[in-house]
């Protein structure tokens, strides 16, 4: 166990990127101090540690700030060697990074459009999202988790979809229909959310749906889904 003073995490309760980092810290048994940020009134500490993006999550380890959740995950894995989350084999590592980038760039973009837009643009985004979900579904063929028998880096990277996709659907009134069309992915979502480290570290669903509903009405560009 690492002393909590050495590890601090700046976050926001509804943010999937922040939870991603918390899941990794908890999987590794790393103690940390959590600091909740009000993103409409960012603390001077946050702005000092992340002056370029001004976003959460920011992990501060021994006074060194690390930003961007996927970068933080790799840093955590390289610094604390117990319970590795990335595979050892270089090809498997490349595949893990590939899927992480895929969901963070492509799936997030289409989900955002499906969430914010209406009419034809919304429909097109949902279609594109389904093409992406199909790829993820195929990747899961014969596997319990993306990382194999246990959750790992790829699951943590894709993990936001297991909870926040449903939240977005409810808040914005659309359905990606993964339960019908993508059985592997649907099954993975349930298994992932049932994992103790994940189950015990999710925001309250109703409160999150309300938050995103208000967020959509605001139509603002304030980034909750941080990198």
């Amino acid at each position: 166990m690492v002393a909590s003073a050495a590890v601090r995490l700046f976050g926001m309760w509804a943010s999937p990127a922040v939870r991603r980092v918390e899941w990794a810290l908890k999987l590794k048994g790393i103690e940390y101090e959590y600091i909740e940020e009000d993103l409409s009134n960012k603390s001077s500490s946050l702005l000092e540690f992340n002056p370029i993006n001004k976003q959460v999550p920011v992990l501060v380890h021994n006074c060194n700030p690390i930003v961007e959740s996927l970068v933080i995950l790799e840093y955590i894995d390289e610094t604390w060697k117990e319970n590795p989350i990335l595979p050892v084999d270089p090809l498997e590592r490349a595949k893990a990074r590939f899927w992480a980038t895929f969901v963070d760039v492509k799936c997030r973009e289409e989900s955002r459009k499906a969430f914010f837009m209406e009419g034809e643009e919304k429909e097109k985004a949902i279609e594109n999202l389904q093409v992406q979900l199909k790829a993820l579904d195929e990747e899961l063929e014969g596997k319990k988790f993306f990382s194999g028998d246990h959750i790992g880096y790829t699951d943590l990277a894709v993990g936001w979809m297991a909870f926040w996709l449903g939240v977005a659907e409810e808040a914005a009134g659309f359905k990606a229909n993964y339960d019908v069309k993508f059985p592997n992915f649907s099954r993975w979502m349930k298994d992932f959310l049932a994992e103790p480290v994940i189950k015990d570290n999710l925001p309250p669903r109703e409160k999150t749906v309300e938050f995103f509903r208000a967020f959509k009405q605001l139509g603002s560009c304030t980034k909750v889904n941080q990198k």
Binding site: N64, I66, Y75, R93, A94, R97
Partner: protein, 262 residues
């Protein structure tokens, strides 16, 4: 020399993302077969190896494809440990990864918009490029890389490769678009000095195409872009890195310069 007949690189001669991989393989003295792709008529092999993005570069090692240049570079570094390109310290690796994302998510797209637009839209994009370069300049002046010849230290590393292969377009674009100033040596002295050092390296000179070839290509694409119907935003959608990345299939009619890969 390590010979590997099972290593193939699908690329495009004008793609800075392809150059990144070529440079890394050259630094590590790794032999490979290079396959030039016609991006307006992609081969079956490319589409088979990269069905999701359909882009270059693709590295195929023992028939297993690797895609996305930064992912490929890390793979190459992990498989061939001679002449490392990533640092060993986890914090430094995190800083390097952050700036690689910055180069690809912020600086690259802004430069792409400059090239694909004109008027007010272009002016705004130029300002954005300057803002981004100012952040890099500050990092070189007083941040993590302070005092270094290269981001990698005395020799080039991952961030030099990522930022360098792409930055050579800045001078080319300035030449093609008169009145557009992207890298003013007085405004960005450290960045400018770093880029000159990078471009003077033998391995870099052997990787990046000759300036006149780049110029000719850039002029042709720019002329084509300006000849196309512009959308409301004054930006040609197909040509920017950000929007090219948004669609899995690049439109065949307008060849991309820096952008048909990731």
């Amino acid at each position: 020399m390590e010979k590997s007949s099972s290593l193939k690189l699908f690329g495009s001669w004008a793609s800075s993302y392809t150059h990144r991989v070529q440079l890394a393989l050259k630094l590590k003295n790794i032999q490979f077969e290079y396959i030039e792709e016609d991006l307006s008529n992609k081969s079956e092999a490319l589409l088979q190896f990269n069905p999701i993005y359909k882009k270059v570069p693709v590295l195929v090692h023992d028939d297993r494809p690797l895609v996305e240049s930064v992912i490929i570079l890390q793979y190459v570094d992990e498989v061939w440990n001679n002449r490392p390109i990533l640092p060993t310290d986890p914090y430094e690796r995190a800083v390097v990864r952050f700036w690689c994302h910055f180069a690809d998510d912020k600086l690259g797209p802004a430069v792409g918009v400059v090239f694909a637009s004109s008027g007010d839209v272009q002016k705004a994009a130029v300002d954005q490029v300057h803002e981004n370069l100012a952040l890099i300049e500050r990092e070189l002046r007083e941040g993590y890389f302070k005092g270094r010849k290269f981001f990698g230290g005395d020799s080039i590393g991952l961030l030099d490769i990522v930022l360098g292969c792409g930055s050579y377009w800045l001078a080319v674009f300035e030449e093609v678009m008169t009145g557009v100033k992207l890298v003013d040596p007085e405004a960005f002295p450290l960045f400018h000095a770093w880029l000159r050092e990078f471009e003077s390296l033998d391995e870099v000179k052997e990787t990046i195409p000759a300036v006149d070839k780049l110029l000719e290509y850039a002029k042709a694409v720019r002329a084509m872009l300006l000849g196309h119907c512009m959308g409301n935003t004054g930006v040609i959608e197909t040509a920017t890195p950000a929007t090219a990345a948004a669609s899995a299939t690049t439109t065949a009619s307008v060849p991309d310069i820096t952008v048909d890969s990731s």
